[in-house]
């Protein structure tokens, strides 16, 4: 027994010391990392619900559950985010502009061409219109599939939530309400993102009745 301890005491000592060190690092940086993830989602909410015109060139300030769109140092719009009291297995944000509900923002996940794609989907309060889609995490092929993060994605804004969106390869002359133009060279990435949007919207339409929100703001429609 003593023999083994003589051989291995350094390994045990190092493990304990480094374990404590890592616990300290996690305690210090953990909240910051969590905050980064929330900030990342909240930063996209104005773009998803207000549209790109209102956001371009403006600064987004996040304080708790309030998101302010600042233009030239003046607060242009202030949004309030509510999270459901009974969280689903995916993130849902109910967003208000003053007392009026501006819309919903729902997190969608699924497989892309290379790895998981995570996106946020903006929906109108009546869930009939997609107000925008924004990719928050992807590892698609650089310069091809990664274009799902480019302005290409703005074409989702204004599409009807039902029937499901369809990807087409050749730009059609008439802007159809459920057609998405594929990115050339990245059909699979375009298909995957569209499928994620379709699935998430369908799932959320089924789940929305189950959600409970703090009463004060929720009664206003």
């Amino acid at each position: 027994m003593l023999k083994y301890f003589k051989q291995g005491w350094l390994v045990i000592a190092i493990s304990l010391a480094f374990g404590a060190l890592l616990a300290g690092v996690q305690l210090t940086l953990g909240p910051k990392i969590k905050e980064n993830q929330i900030t990342k989602s909240y930063n996209r909410i104005p773009l998803l619900l207000l549209g790109q015109d209102k956001v371009n060139g403006a600064k987004i300030v996040i304080a708790g559950d309030k998101i302010t769109v600042d233009r030239d140092g003046k607060a242009e719009t202030t949004l309030t985010v509510q999270k459901p009291e009974n969280p689903l297995d995916y993130d849902v944000y109910k967003v208000f502009n003053g007392d009026k509900q501006l819309g919903w923002v729902v997190l969608g996940k699924g497989n892309g061409y290379a790895d998981e794609v995570v996106c946020l989907i903006g929906l109108s309060p009546d869930l009939k219109t997609i107000t925008g889609v924004s990719v928050i995490s992807q590892k698609e092929t650089p310069n091809l599939g990664s274009k799902i993060q480019s302005p290409w994605i703005y074409q989702f804004a204004g599409k009807a939530a039902n029937p499901p969106l369809e990807v087409v390869k050749n730009r059609t002359a008439s802007p159809d309400n459920n057609k998405i133009d594929a990115i050339s060279g990245a059909t699979i990435s375009s298909d995957s993102l569209t499928a994620i949007v379709n699935q998430t919207v369908a799932k959320f339409v089924g789940d929305v009745e189950k959600l409970k929100f703090a009463s004060a703001a929720a009664e206003e429609k």
Binding site: L22, V25, Q26, N36, S137, T141, L144, G185
Partner: protein, 211 residues
């Protein structure tokens, strides 16, 4: 084992940069060299993370080198390296979230980066803290040099930019001439192969001149 029977601190430092360059001479750490060199920004973040881990683990290994039992050394090295890699990973996630997302699994993979374990074994486990730090700094600079040469070629050809800055006055004019493949895996292999050939050719030329 007598101390400092190896090269001096200065020799270690210089050796790491060119004569024993990790990328072109030792051919170590090929995983990040191929995987993250599509852009300059990602490469330099990786080089910084490797430098941090390498310097810290060389210091610790050098300090405890008399206590390490020879047959347990790899275990101890791995423990030390893994700890600093985890710290680097958390630090990036907290303060550089975009880079952390982009580099994804390649930061945790520094644990198995041969450069670090090789420097622990070759230098830090045998020499005192001074040469160990000089060695780590030299090797880190050498590695950063290796990554940046590959990344410069790839980013320039694939996106016409350097450090994310468009190099041509009219960015959209070059759009048709970009080689998307240079940003992908084959581009990494091609660039690395050609640059390594160039490095070998240059060093052969210099050796001939000296002889």
């Amino acid at each position: 084992m007598p101390d400092n029977n190896g090269p001096t601190a200065f020799e270690r430092f210089i050796n790491g940069i060119l004569p024993e360059n990790p990328t072109y001479r030792q051919v170590l750490g090929m995983c990040p060299t191929l995987a993250v060199t599509a852009t300059m920004k990602a490469s330099m973040t990786m080089a910084g993370a490797v430098a941090f881990v390498l310097i810290c683990s060389n210091i610790i290994v050098s300090l405890i080198r008399h206590l390490i039992k020879p047959h347990l050394r790899i275990l101890v090295f791995t423990l030390i390296i893994a700890t600093f890699v985890t710290i680097a990973d958390k630090f990036l996630a907290a303060f550089m979230p975009d880079m952390s997302d982009q580099l994804g699994p390649y930061i945790p993979l520094i644990i198995v980066n041969c450069i670090i374990i090789c420097r622990c074994e070759v230098c830090a486990a045998k020499q005192s803290v001074g040469p160990a730090i000089a060695d780590a700094v030299g090797q880190s600079i050498g590695f950063a040099l290796g990554l940046s040469t590959v990344a410069t070629v790839r980013e320039l050809l694939a996106s016409g930019s350097w450090f994310g800055i468009e190099l041509f006055w009219n960015g959209s004019a070059t759009e048709g001439y970009r080689w998307a493949i240079m940003g992908l895996a084959p581009g990494a292999f091609l660039t690395l192969g050609l640059l390594m050939g160039l490095a070998n050719w240059l060093s052969a030329k210099f050796e001939k001149k000296a002889a």
